[in-house]
């Protein structure tokens, strides 16, 4: 009895810690504390699950935990900050896979129990089927998202004729098999369940394949909420409140975040998922194969002079800065400019980089003062008063086509109005198009100057050039 009460209290403590953790995560000053509270909640939850186990299966649990800890810790500590989004995708996929695996064990257990005359109950049966499907879709989808962002496969949308029809057929087949397994309560042949899970994995792959790299943050966020939902339904399966609450919390937050990101990109979720972007983007690239003309390339010294004698410079960081790890050099450049009493501001597009807040994290790493970072809505009116907009490895979020070319796939997406600045300097590796795979008319603007090269190398030479002035 006492043990029962203690365990229930421990579970409630874990839930409270999760909520408090998320609450403290909403403010930069308390975010770390929040993360630790949530981690403490998790530790309590795990101990509470292990306590009543009588040590059954201790070796299996230990083996799994040791392997999981080593792999999880190693990859979390080794990953470069640029690769964070895909790392989150992989961890998310692991969670989805775990949910599907738990359901599969439950299913196989029942099947064995059924053979000995114990009937299955509806709640467990229905919830394990749903959780297995969602978990498998999330796991496979996350792996594809990882492969795309890690550039182990093309980041471009993979499309073919009748793709949505094929996906629809697969989804229908899964639904049919699911109904069969649910209705017959485990009397059906085992392969029905196996094929169902296999098709769910296939669906996860096919659902992420047609989505272009630029939309990947939205997809990872969506998959995060999928896994949350799968875990919540696993909670129904096990009749365990803790799983339901924690899973639902993630499901709700992931959905919220997905909607916010979709709004920031002016891309309704429906468009993201059904590849409207991919199809028209592909056509655009093909139609303009001639490449962009009238590009004005400049030297480091030209740019250094422009920057050093400006009144106000707005730095627009993007994925290129993240890849080159140029944030420290950018900070140094800003310091040099401020010494010459140039006002430096940073313009942060909501989806710059590959995740919301990606740029903030990187710039924070380089000790860029918080109050120099401006959101899109706050900084856009500033461009007209700005002498130089320094675009470092950002592309699509500065593309004026989003404003005035109705046929452009990113038409309507809110962008940073860099073209309103008196001068625009774009630091870029090459003339390759951005992640969305479309050309940027900004580069043909007469007031735009291009400085080609690795972002870090370019910024470093800018720093020494400004110093030398």
């Amino acid at each position: 009895m006492t043990a029962f009460v203690l365990l229930r209290l421990a579970e409630i403590a874990a839930i409270v810690l999760f909520f408090l953790g998320l609450h403290f995560l909403s403010s930069p000053a308390t975010a770390r504390f929040g993360n630790r509270l949530a981690a403490l909640g998790m530790l309590i939850a795990i101990v509470a699950a292990l306590a009543p186990s009588h040590g059954y299966g201790w070796w299996a649990i230990l083996a799994g935990m040791v392997v999981g800890t080593v792999v999880g810790l190693y990859s979390a500590l080794k990953v470069k900050m640029t690769a964070m989004p895909q790392m989150v995708a992989l961890f998310n996929g692991a969670g989805g896979g775990a949910a599907a695996a738990v359901s599969t064990v439950q299913y196989l257990l029942w099947e064995r129990a059924h053979n000995t005359g114990v009937p299955l109950d509806v709640l467990t049966d229905v919830s394990l089927v749903i959780s297995a499907i969602i978990g498998a879709v999330s796991a496979a989808g996350s792996v594809i998202a990882f492969l795309k962002l890690q550039e182990l496969m093309t980041g471009r949308p993979v499309t073919y004729r009748g793709q949505q029809f094929v996906n629809g057929i697969v989804a229908l087949a899964i639904a049919g098999l699911a109904a069969w397994v649910m209705i017959t309560l485990g009397v059906e042949p085992t392969w029905a369940y196996g094929v169902m899970v296999a098709l769910a994995l296939v669906l996860g792959v096919m659902f992420v394949l047609p989505i272009g790299g630029a939309d990947m943050p939205v997809v990872i966020s969506l998959l995060n909420s999928f896994t949350g939902l799968a875990v919540a339904i696993t909670g129904f399966e096990l009749r365990y409140n803790l799983l339901i609450i924690a899973g639902t919390l993630v499901g709700a937050s992931g959905t919220m975040l997905t909607i916010l990101m979709g709004k920031a990109m002016n891309r309704p979720l429906r468009n993201v998922l059904f590849g409207a972007f991919g199809a028209s983007g592909g056509m655009d690239v093909a139609a303009s194969k001639g490449g962009q003309q009238n590009i004005r390339s400049v030297t480091v010294d030209d740019v250094a002079v422009m920057l050093a004698f400006a009144h106000q410079v707005i730095i627009v960081p993007g994925y290129g800065m993240a890849v080159a790890q140029a944030q420290h050099s950018v900070r140094e450049l800003a310091d040099q400019l401020e010494k010459r009493s140039v006002t430096v501001k940073y313009a942060i597009h909501p989806v710059a980089g590959r995740m919301p807040g990606h740029m903030n994290v990187l710039l924070a790493e380089a000790n860029v003062p918080y109050n120099q970072l401006y959101d899109m809505d706050d900084i856009n009116p500033e461009f007209a008063r700005t002498d130089v907009a320094l675009v470092i490895g950002a592309n699509d979020v500065t593309n004026p086509a989003a404003r005035n070319v109705a046929s452009s796939p990113i038409y309507g997406m809110p962008i940073l109005d860099v073209d309103k600045a008196a001068n625009v300097v774009v630091l870029k590796r090459s003339m390759r198009s951005g992640f969305a795979g479309i050309e940027n008319p900004l580069y043909e603007d007469p007031k735009t100057a291009m400085l080609f090269g690795d972002a870090k190398a370019s910024v470093d030479s800018l720093v020494s050039a400004v110093k030398a002035l």
Binding site: G21, I46, G64, G72, G95, L123, A246
Partner: protein, 107 residues
């Protein structure tokens, strides 16, 4: 009947959690979206607890239900859940460390 009342008890918790989840999240500034996503990602690692429960049930000697295949799947489930938890919280911590370093420079 009791099965049904259990279900509705769980469903109530589920529905309430949806509302509280939206409420907690909607106050977060954009800057913290990535760490937040990462932290919620770690929290759904609670599936590890589900994996532990199933493993214990499977390997309970009183039931003698275990087969090598089932045991292997549970070990995989525990490992995946642990990766989700440990990796998730560790990567979030790393992201947030960068926010912390900023404070002294602000003075």
């Amino acid at each position: 009947m009791s099965e049904l009342s259990i279900f509705f008890g769980l469903l109530t918790v589920f529905v309430l959690a949806i509302f509280v989840g939206f409420e907690v999240i909607s106050k977060v500034p954009t800057t913290l979206h990535t760490p937040l996503m990462s932290a919620t990602n770690a929290i759904h690692g609670i599936v590890l607890v589900g994996a532990i429960i199933v493993t214990v049930k499977l390997l309970d000697p009183a039931h003698a239900l275990a087969t090598p295949l089932l045991t292997a799947i549970t070990i995989v489930a525990v490992a995946l859940g642990t990766i989700n938890v440990v990796g998730g919280f560790a990567v979030t911590e790393r992201m947030l460390q960068m926010f912390k370093k900023r404070e002294p420079s602000k003075k």
